[in-house]
Symmetry: C2
Subunit: 300 residues, 2 copies
């Protein structure tokens, strides 16, 4: 079966295809703003839902449902739930961060083209719960995988997705007539956007930083030392990405300056104004010209 082996061993993803998959992950954003007024085409939404439906699920139970919410009045009610929940959450935030918390835009419920509530039917495999006897929460996790598929497919289609987690679940269930045995997993704002931010919003606003990945890797047991070669390989990748990211942010700043002052960037640069974002435009250009993308650049 040599032919079959060759056909299915992963060689079917060439470098450009692999880059595209990584690019969707690195440039995906939790979008709360930049939604544009356009409707979302049903053909596109159908593709995104099909992607979600191809998520893994324990025991192949496919526990998800998708509630599409377009009605403006209902969305205002959901937004009211968010606003109430935000006020309730505020005291749980460190005192010195509460002012920043208030400033953060944490939802785009009414501005996005539509909302989507992805739910988990906890009874769908009730007679044969393969893989759920010890870990009954596996159906919830399966549904989260569907959310992530939806999100990545959306990024590849130029559609922004924001996950609103500041909401009281029981109130949401009442508003959407969701029965007792069904759990809402994700309430999403979905729509075309004018841009994807170069960095996550919470990083840009100083709420947090990306943690150094080598510190999150352990060997054999929790906090087990070891895996030095793996950690070195990760650090090399991170340094490469970090350099690119700095160049992006600097170029974005320079371009913004250039836009306002009508002056060119101070130095000639491979990063043109139309490729402000490494993760997106420049990666795309490099990918399409077939060299210099992140995976091939830093490590093979």
């Amino acid at each position: 079966m040599q032919a079959r082996t060759a056909a299915t061993s992963g060689d079917d993803f060439d470098q450009l295809a692999r880059d595209a998959v990584y690019r969707a992950m690195f440039t995906r954003r939790d979008v709360r703003s930049h939604f544009v007024a356009d409707d979302l085409d049903d053909g596109v939404l159908a593709r995104l839902l099909t992607a979600a439906h191809h998520a893994p699920s324990v025991g192949y139970m496919q526990p998800w449902n998708f509630i599409v919410i377009r009605d403006a009045a209902r969305r205002r009610q959901v937004r009211d739930l968010f606003l109430a929940a935000r006020e309730q959450e505020l005291p749980a935030i460190e005192a010195e961060r509460q002012a920043l918390y208030r400033k953060l835009k944490l939802e785009g419920i009414c501005e996005s083209a539509l909302n989507l509530c992805i739910t988990c039917d906890r009874q769908r495999s009730k007679n044969s719960p393969l893989g759920r006897w010890h870990n009954p929460e596996m159906d919830l996790y399966s549904t989260v995988c569907a959310v992530q598929n939806f999100w990545l497919a959306a990024r590849a289609e130029g559609v922004g997705v924001g996950w609103v987690s500041i909401i009281e679940t029981e109130a949401l269930k009442r508003l959407l007539s969701i029965p007792e045995h069904v759990t809402p997993i994700a309430y999403l704002c979905v729509g075309r956007v004018s841009e994807f931010a170069p960095r996550p919003d919470l990083e840009a606003h100083g709420w947090g930083k990306r943690l150094p990945l080598p510190e999150l890797v352990m060997s054999e047991t929790f906090c087990g030392a070891g895996e030095a070669p793996l950690k070195s390989a990760i650090a090399a990748l991170e340094n490469g990405r970090s350099r690119d990211q700095s160049a992006v942010v600097e170029a974005a700043d320079q371009a913004a300056l250039g836009e306002s002052q009508r002056e060119p960037p101070k130095e000639p640069s491979a990063l043109s104004r139309s490729s402000l974002n490494f993760d997106e435009a420049s990666a795309s250009r490099r990918s399409q010209s077939g060299f210099g993308t992140w995976p091939s650049m830093v490590s093979k």
Copy 2:
């Protein structure tokens, strides 16, 4: 900022790049067999972990850790936990399916190149739990998104991943010295494979079928009628995929026959022996020749 808008609106994913993202999703498998004896290169594993680390996380808390498990003796201990858990789960399965359940291969703990336990540190945002006050499980969900990123990146790299959910969590925590406040989310078997199956194993063995997606879509409220155009668009996509899938399975059967009998397939077909799997090889060929891939074929 027209230049910026154009650069970041999603046009950076051309049709080939979008196809690659969908292909990773449609051809990802929960792999339990077909692992080959090769080690997994640290450079590849570093890329997969970097993909996981770029998952979304509520409040940007990045709650995950990654425990790499290579030791053969420890893996045998984990496999013993699986075997015990499988016996405990068996009585929960419908009587007429228990024989099938016993036959299913549900893990590849010892045969894969390595194991990976992805955990969630539930205290990482304890002073400022943005987005977790009402839904404290959001950190668990964030970690699942990291698992799914890892899984999709692995598919694009030709690496198989299997999620072992039949395991007793507290026993696993003891075996891996995982502290109380950390929750194991996914125990994964990871390694190069000789092939990715054309269909999910549980479908191939008759355990379940993929549900019709239009029946899982609801409008405005749970079970709300409506969204007819969206459902039609989904049905058109599903029919297209279903036709392709039938052709794949038929071609795979014919090719297997051809391999054993040294006879060519009965009819001339666009599907050669080296493209047994639409989702993989033929999509790749079509993608690389720039026409006829699923998204462009069925709907624009």
